[in-house]
């Protein structure tokens, strides 16, 4: 029987994968993917907990996040294209222009 704990573990694992991706990846596009993974890990957790408590607001919130993530990706990808056109690369080490 698959219980809520399984979903939460899955969500935690996915979140960790996304988190490590954010920390380790250098390519901006990959960073985007990693954030998407983290968002969806959270969505899974919301949906699972919502169904566990028989409360619809969890799933509702997951839809919200999907909608927001979709629009964020639309804007973000547009920016990425511009960045690529400007620098010819999406590697963070290459496009970093601020020097501390």
């Amino acid at each position: 029987m698959i219980g809520v704990n399984h979903y939460l573990v899955l969500s935690g694992l996915l979140f960790s994968i996304g988190f490590i991706g954010v920390l380790r990846r250098k390519n901006l596009l990959m960073l985007f993917f990693a954030t998407e993974v983290m968002l969806n890990a959270v969505n899974i957790a919301f949906a699972a907990i919502g169904s566990y408590y028989g409360d619809l607001s969890g799933q509702m919130f997951a839809f919200f996040i999907i909608a927001v993530a979709a629009s964020e990706v639309a804007v973000g990808l547009g920016l990425l294209i511009l960045l690529y056109k400007k620098y010819g690369s999406l590697d963070l080490d290459v496009i970093s222009s601020m020097k501390g």
Partner: protein, 636 residues
């Protein structure tokens, strides 16, 4: 009348602001000298009118405004013009007016001419507050005000170099200014304690309230108040052991010495004792009064003995001031307050005259002070010679002169009181006074013209300055003639002091004794110092090596003693404390500052402009936040 009080008080203040605010940075202008002198003269005229009014209608008491009003403490800005204060006002404004006019000539070549007048008028204003205030708080403000102005004016030539202490009398003005200020601070602490004691036990600082409440206070308390107030008076009037600053204060310009360190400020201590006569006259504080009288007699003698051998023309006059202050305290301590005040006024006139005359000599001799280098100057400086002669006659207490009446009255009251030791000291001192003041006159104006050989080209002061000094000369001669009028006027306010029956018939004899001593002193001085020829250059080498001479020229080694046992240990202690301060306090402050700097320097490396590493740091931060949340939820 109220307006006159304010005019007398604020005219000098306006003058000070005029010179200080508008002309502080501009080049020398005679406008300042003229305006300031006029304003002081206006104050003098107001004081004269007030004196006439007071003589006829009694005291004027005005309250300008509330100054401090907190809880039970209520101190108004009030001014009391009664017989005592109006006498002081007359003396202060008259001498100040003449000194202001004198200064326009004396300071003519000084580049800080305007600044000088700003300070000098500020001094007059402070002095007026001191004498006119109707409460101890106002008196204290004036007291401190004159102290500050004295500091500013002694150190007026602050740029002069610091010379070594051994080369007495050549120390720097700034050193002398600090010495005067610090020594007065020591005494002012005593004064403050006295004022606090009065406030705690009486609940008011108004003179009339305090003096009415005095008989209800405990004896011990009265004695403590009297002692504390007298310590303040000792500092301001340079009584032993706080006297060393007065002779060093001669580093200031001569008009300053004449006004502040002879005629007015140094008499503030005497004024305080006279003002507080209901306190010092009480039976309970008789011991303190006797101490004042004894100290006065001692200082009179002590200072006169130092003046016998002094070579510096200004120091001689300063020491004679010290000696005469001793006389005033002797009179005040014996209960003869009105005689003390009378001598104060007479002394102000002839001593200011003497100082201004000495200033003329100095001016003529290019600031040379050594009387051994002068001599025979009466030919070139007739005006100054006559003035200094008159002043010295008055100081020596020869008949007709002002000093004769006032000093004789003091000596007589000492005899009358039965204090024969004090009397004997005062009589001997009178002889010494005559000797040293004429030693100075003969050395300067008579005998061999030593200055010629030394290459000086003296010339007398401007004519108008000499004319301006005339009122002082007239008063130095004639002030004593008004003794009875003064007595009648002042005893409305001060307790009378009458000679008792059994000494009445001795008075002429005692007076003659003093005159004979004075004449002898003058004669010896004439014999010794007015000579011409090779003798005038000779000096008694053997006598100058003797112990007594050395003791006296070194001011009884008191300055040296203070230097060795107070100044130097204090300097060492200060240096040590400075090091401790640097290590502990500064160290702690530096630690905080350096800590912030170091943290910034280290954490600066996070900001390397790379988004990836920013994200890493963000991750670290998020983890830390989660960790904190977990820990705090576990701890609860």
């Amino acid at each position: 009348m109220e307006n006159l009080v304010y005019i007398a008080l604020f005219a000098p203040f306006v003058g000070s602001l005029f010179a200080g605010l508008f002309f502080a940075r501009s080049p020398k202008t005679h406008l300042v000298g003229f305006v300031n002198s006029t304003l002081i003269a206006v104050a003098f005229i107001a004081a004269v009118t007030l004196a006439l009014h007071v003589a006829e209608h009694g005291a004027v008491h005005v309250t300008m405004m509330t100054w401090i009003s907190i809880g039970d403490l209520n101190i108004p800005f009030g001014f009391l013009v009664d017989e005592v204060s109006v006498t002081m006002m007359l003396v202060v404004t008259l001498v100040s007016t003449i000194v202001h006019i004198y200064s326009t000539g004396y300071m003519n070549h000084d580049k800080s001419y305007n600044r000088f007048f700003a300070y000098l008028s500020a001094f007059v204003f402070s002095m007026m507050i001191l004498v006119m205030s109707d409460n101890f708080a106002g008196l204290f403000i004036g007291w401190e005000g004159v102290g500050v102005c004295s500091w500013l004016l002694i150190g007026f030539w602050y740029h002069k170099e610091d010379k070594t202490f051994e080369e007495n009398p050549s120390i720097s003005p700034s050193w002398a200014a600090n010495e005067a200020f610090i020594m007065n601070r020591v005494a002012d602490l005593g004064m403050l304690v006295g004022i606090f004691l009065i406030y705690w036990n009486v609940g008011s600082l108004q003179y009339d309230v305090v003096f009415n409440a005095l008989p209800h206070l405990a004896d011990g308390l009265l004695v403590s108040i009297a002692i504390a107030l007298f310590i303040g008076a000792m500092g301001k009037s340079a009584q032993f052991p706080l006297h060393t600053w007065l002779t060093d204060a001669m580093e200031g310009p001569t008009p300053v010495s004449a006004l502040i360190h002879a005629a007015t400020m140094v008499t503030a201590g005497v004024f305080l004792v006279i003002r507080a006569n209901p306190l010092f006259g009480l039976e309970a504080v008789h011991g303190v009064s006797m101490f004042i009288a004894s100290l006065g007699a001692f200082v009179a003698f002590y200072a006169a003995s130092m003046a016998l051998s002094a070579r510096d023309i200004k120091r001689i006059v300063a020491l004679s001031t010290l000696s005469q202050l001793g006389y005033m305290f002797a009179a005040a301590g014996l209960g003869a307050y009105w005689i003390a005040l009378f001598h104060l006024a007479a002394h102000a006139f002839f001593k200011a005259l003497l100082f201004l005359g000495a200033g003329n000599v100095m001016h003529a001799m290019d600031d040379e002070l050594d009387i051994f280098k002068m001599g025979g100057m009466k030919k070139v400086m007739m005006g100054s010679y006559v003035y200094m002669g008159i002043a010295s006659f008055a100081l020596a207490g020869l008949p007709i002169m002002a000093g004769f009446y006032s000093k004789d009255a003091i000596i007589e009251s000492a005899f009358n009181d039965g204090s024969f030791i004090i009397w004997a000291i005062l009589v001997i001192t009178a002889g010494m006074t005559a000797f040293y003041s004429f030693r100075q006159v003969f050395f300067t104006f008579h005998g061999e013209e030593r200055y010629k050989a030394l290459g000086f080209h003296p010339h007398d002061m401007y004519k108008y300055v000499l004319v301006a000094m005339a009122p002082l000369a007239i008063l130095a001669i004639s002030f004593g003639w008004f003794m009875n009028n003064f007595h009648e006027f002042i005893t409305k306010n001060l307790p009378d002091y009458e000679m008792s029956e059994h000494t009445e018939h001795l008075a002429p004899f005692l007076g003659t004794l003093v005159i004979i001593l004075a004449l002898t002193g003058i004669f010896i001085a004439w014999k010794k110092y007015a000579g011409k020829g090779a003798n005038a250059w000779k000096r008694d080498e053997k006598f100058e090596q003797s112990f007594i001479y050395q003791l006296v020229t070194n001011q009884y080694y008191i300055p040296k003693f203070y230097d060795e046992f107070i100044v130097q240990p204090y300097t060492i202690a200060s240096k040590k404390f400075w090091e401790i301060d640097k290590a502990v306090v500064d160290g702690f402050v530096d630690f905080i500052g350096k800590g912030a700097y170091k943290t910034g320097d280290v954490s600066r490396r996070m900001q390397n402009g790379n988004l990836s590493s920013y994200l890493n740091w963000m991750g670290v931060g998020a983890l830390i936040l989660v960790l904190i949340a977990v820990i705090s939820s576990v701890i609860g």
